[in-house]
């Protein structure tokens, strides 16, 4: 079937893609700059077409626990929010990771800390990739850089979530959520009629009862479980790294950026090359797992790297670990909801590496 072409906001694309991906349930609570997601779903009313549940919970905490419950039943469920709302959801996210349940969480990031601003930012990188909630766990983190990827990554997220029984987080931002671009939408998928064998779907006589929990009072058993999680994360690190390279072959300076910053940096690379500076861009698509190996390889070929993020410098720590001292690594970024401009990035690249 041919893909349908639309002009949509990133937020609308997530919502439409969720209906088309055969999602069973969406549980959310409005917050700028991602309220169009729940708005779109409410208006589309997929309960009447695919049977998908769309529910505005009484709070973010309620929404994430509804996701926990739905996921425990083996259903394809999701929630979306923006930074302060995602902070409220962290307890639930940790429980879901601890119970090894698949689900999709979308964070359309705004400036922080606290209530911060409602403009785009990338200051939730640490929260998304290093934990966020308590305990040793990782989410699989995907970073869309276009409206098309906002749509495409919904399906991909569920594929990964169910493959690894692990929550997936799409780390977007206010710019991608609010901007409109062309998007090719996938055909409708039917909602799954089967439930995974681990789901709490009622105990038949043919098997033991399934238990979904994140609690084990025996430290020895808990440590065995922790090791199991670590083995899972290692497998994800081996198999699921995704990234995109732009003019890296002959690059002397490498920009590393994801999401909106990667779009900005693509233009910066072009501007730099017009000035005779051989710049390239590596765009991590998965932030966990991080493209450590590729960045380390590229570190052997370039004179230096600049991590560009709309934050005080978070991903730069992963770039530093990946480069492992081979070449100098710096950070450049704007904060508070200000999007870095392509020209600023070039100026910064020049002042850090070339002088002047």
């Amino acid at each position: 079937m041919e893909k349908e072409l639309r002009l949509m906001k990133g937020n609308e694309a997530v919502a439409e893609a969720a209906i088309r991906a055969g999602v069973d349930g969406y549980f959310g609570y409005p917050i700028t700059p991602q309220t169009e997601i729940i708005e779109y779903l409410m208006e589309a009313n997929p309960a009447e077409t695919t049977g998908m549940v769309v529910l505005q919970a009484e709070s973010e905490v309620a929404a994430i626990n509804m996701v926990y419950g739905g996921a425990a039943c083996g259903k394809k469920v999701m929630t979306t929010s923006s930074s302060p709302g995602i902070s409220l959801k962290q307890e639930g996210i940790s429980y879901i990771a601890g119970a090894e349940l698949p689900c999709l969480i979308v964070n359309v990031v705004r400036g922080g800390p606290g209530l911060g601003t409602i403009q785009p930012a990338q200051s939730d990188y640490f929260q998304s990739t290093k934990g966020g909630g308590h305990g040793d766990y990782h989410l699989i983190v995907l970073a869309p850089a276009s409206v098309q990827e906002m749509a495409d990554f919904v399906d991909l997220s569920f594929e990964l979530a169910f493959k690894y029984r692990n929550p997936v987080l799409m780390l977007s931002d206010g710019a991608i959520g609010q901007m409109m671009e062309k998007v090719y939408l996938s055909p409708f998928k039917e909602r799954s009629k089967t439930v995974p064998e681990w789901a709490t779907s009622g105990k038949p006589s043919t098997r033991e009862r399934n238990i979904i929990t994140s609690l084990d009072l025996d430290p020895n058993r808990q440590e065995v479980f922790n090791r199991k999680l670590l083995a899972k994360y290692d497998e994800i690190r081996k198999k699921e790294v995704r990234y995109e390279e732009f003019l890296c072959e002959d690059a002397e300076y490498l920009l590393v950026a994801y999401g909106t910053s990667a779009r900005v940096c693509q233009k910066s690379v072009q501007l730099a090359r017009e000035q005779g500076i051989k710049a390239g861009l590596l765009r991590p698509i998965t932030l966990f797992p991080f493209p450590t190996k590729r960045i380390n390889e590229l570190a052997g070929k370039v004179k230096g790297m600049l991590s560009v993020e709309m934050s005080a410098g978070q991903m730069v720590e992963d770039v530093l670990l990946s480069v492992n001292g081979k070449v100098p690594v710096y950070h450049f970024g704007r904060m508070g909801g200000i999007v870095t401009t392509p020209e600023e990035v070039v100026e910064n690249l020049k002042s850090k590496f070339i002088g002047g």
């Binding site: 002009l7 609010q178 901007m179 233009k267």
Partner: protein, 184 residues
């Protein structure tokens, strides 16, 4: 071909919807497009702006500082964006309420008194479409037929009866620019 445009004015003047019509028209012409609005408190009564990029290639940054064309509908926006137009670029502005006019000599300035014209045509709401028509005369990057298709796409069906009126407005904008170009 890449055209980087900023449209700026008061909230409620149809800044965002003019951008949307442009973006849809670009899609109808099989171009790549991006539409990046300012959102948040400034939209609620203050100034609103939107960056529209129409290109035959994949669009890199949707957020830019330098524009090929600025379409300006109020004084604050003129003050803010006059300096952001690339040398040799285009500034189209409505003179209504403007006390300090554009000063730059290295850009092409067109004054389109669209608000006045729209009220003369008895359709004050098509004021932004007149400006759009003017823009398309200065920069004929999209064919009129595709703009009409774009209008159809971006307007909800219940407003499709307004399309003929908007077509008239587009053409009037074109004529105004034609007259200016003749007098140059």
């Amino acid at each position: 071909m890449t055209e980087e445009i900023i449209i700026a004015g008061f909230g409620g003047q149809g800044v965002l919807s003019m951008g949307k019509i442009m973006a849809y028209s670009g899609v109808m012409q099989d171009m790549e497009v991006s539409w990046m609005p300012s959102y948040g408190p400034e939209m609620r009564g203050g100034t609103a702006n939107v960056i529209v990029i129409i290109s035959s290639e994949r669009i890199s940054s949707p957020i830019i500082k330098q524009f090929d064309t600025a379409i300006i509908l109020n004084q604050q926006s003129l003050d803010k964006f006059e300096s952001s137009i690339k040398p040799g670029g285009v500034l189209i502005y409505d003179g209504n309420g403007i006390t300090r006019h554009p000063e730059r000599k290295d850009i092409n300035v067109y004054r389109v008194d669209a608000a006045e014209e729209a009220s003369r045509m008895n359709s004050p709401k098509t004021f932004n479409t007149i400006v759009l028509g003017g823009f398309l005369k200065v920069k004929p990057i999209i064919k009129l037929e595709n703009v009409l298709k774009g209008l159809k796409k971006s307007l909800p069906e219940r407003y499709h009866n307004l399309i003929p009126m908007n077509e008239k407005a587009l053409k009037r904008g074109e004529e105004i620019i034609k007259e200016i170009q003749k007098s140059l």
